[in-house]
Amino acid sequence: MSAPAPTLLLLDDDETGRFVLAAMLEDSGYRVTEASSIAGARALLETQAFDVAILDLELGDGHGSDLIPALARAHPHTMIAVLSGRDLEPIPHADTIITKAIEPTELLARLERALTIKRAIG
């Protein structure tokens, strides 16, 4: 029996970017739940756990990295990927940082690699 599809929380306030990325991720086997704000993501995280969380940083109601400490505490098995339009230094508790406009095959490979490592050590 094959493993269940990984669940993924996608937080991005750019509607077009989120729509396209969600479609691509779903087509790649993820079960995607979308959030357009930190408040929305917090509400989802109170009731659900995700295998993967992809967090955009610059959001209308705050900075996506503000979610990371609470997310890492409450859901230590969730692989956290930070998505950004800027070049970033490593962020504590983030498993991987993905620059926007990265090659899609590279993005999917990075997610899969980070998820595999997280599951192995988790």
């Binding site: 970017g17 396209v20 087509d27 610059e58 900075h63 800027r86 406009a101 090659e103 095959t105």
Partner: protein, 234 residues
């Protein structure tokens, strides 16, 4: 923006212009990367769906070529966005007086309205050592003070307090002013402003300049007061 630039000491004006351009370019770069990501991911999705569910790519080889063309053009755009200008020579360290003296000097250039009172609280225990203050740190500090004074003017007058303290392995300069607490994060967004004739880049510029010296800018709000704090490692 021009009025803001002209209100600061002449030695900071060129740096402010340069920093405003840097911040604008950075924001454009960020926005373009978002758009390119959507185009790239759409192209990838359509191609993969076409491969999985149709014979389109086999029937018409040009379709595959076009997908490749879009991808290679996107690569070029991404490379162009990655090109960064050389650091501005204006960032060189310039020795300035004590931070508290510097604050006094910056306040003078602002020509404070009578409705605004600025208090510089610097208890002897927290007195900072004499230090060389880089020009861009000076500008970051000026931006914070100017913003706080503007907020006080907008509120019909009031107090702005400035404090120096040492903590967390470094020193802090706090600028406190009246502000609506819910706006704390919004102020750090580029081009966010409620004031006509301004560009809304000041705090973003201050944050960028501070980070260049391994420092940070923090905004905290409580009881109707916004505290903008610059921290630098000792």
């Amino acid at each position: 923006m021009t009025r803001q630039i002209l209100s600061c000491p002449p030695r900071l004006q060129a740096l402010w212009r340069s920093a405003a351009v840097d911040e604008t370019v950075s924001s454009l770069r960020h926005d373009l990367r978002n758009k390119l990501a959507s185009i790239r991911n759409s192209n990838f999705y359509i191609r993969r769906r076409a491969e999985k569910t149709t014979t389109l790519l086999k029937d018409d080889p040009k379709v595959g070529e076009f997908f490749g063309l879009v991808e290679s053009e996107l690569d070029l755009c991404t490379q162009l966005l990655a090109v960064k200008a050389a650091p501005s020579p204006l960032s060189a360290v310039i020795v300035r007086p004590l931070v508290s003296e510097l604050i006094g000097e910056l306040l003078q250039s602002l020509q404070l309205p009578k409705s605004v009172e600025v208090r510089l609280a610097s208890p002897p225990a927290a007195k900072l050592p004499a230090a060389a203050v880089p020009l861009d740190v000076e500008l970051a500090l000026f931006v914070l003070i100017e913003n706080a004074v503007e907020a006080a003017v907008e509120a019909g007058g009031g107090k702005v307090s400035l404090e120096e303290r040492t903590d967390k392995g470094g020193f802090w300069i706090d600028v406190n002013s009246a502000c609506e607490p819910q706006e704390t994060q919004a102020w750090l967004r580029p081009f966010y402003t409620r004031k006509p004739g301004r560009m809304g880049l000041g705090l973003k510029i201050a944050k960028r300049l501070t980070a260049g010296w391994a420092g940070k800018l923090e905004l905290t709000a409580a009881n109707g007061t916004l505290r903008a704090s610059l921290w630098f490692p000792a």
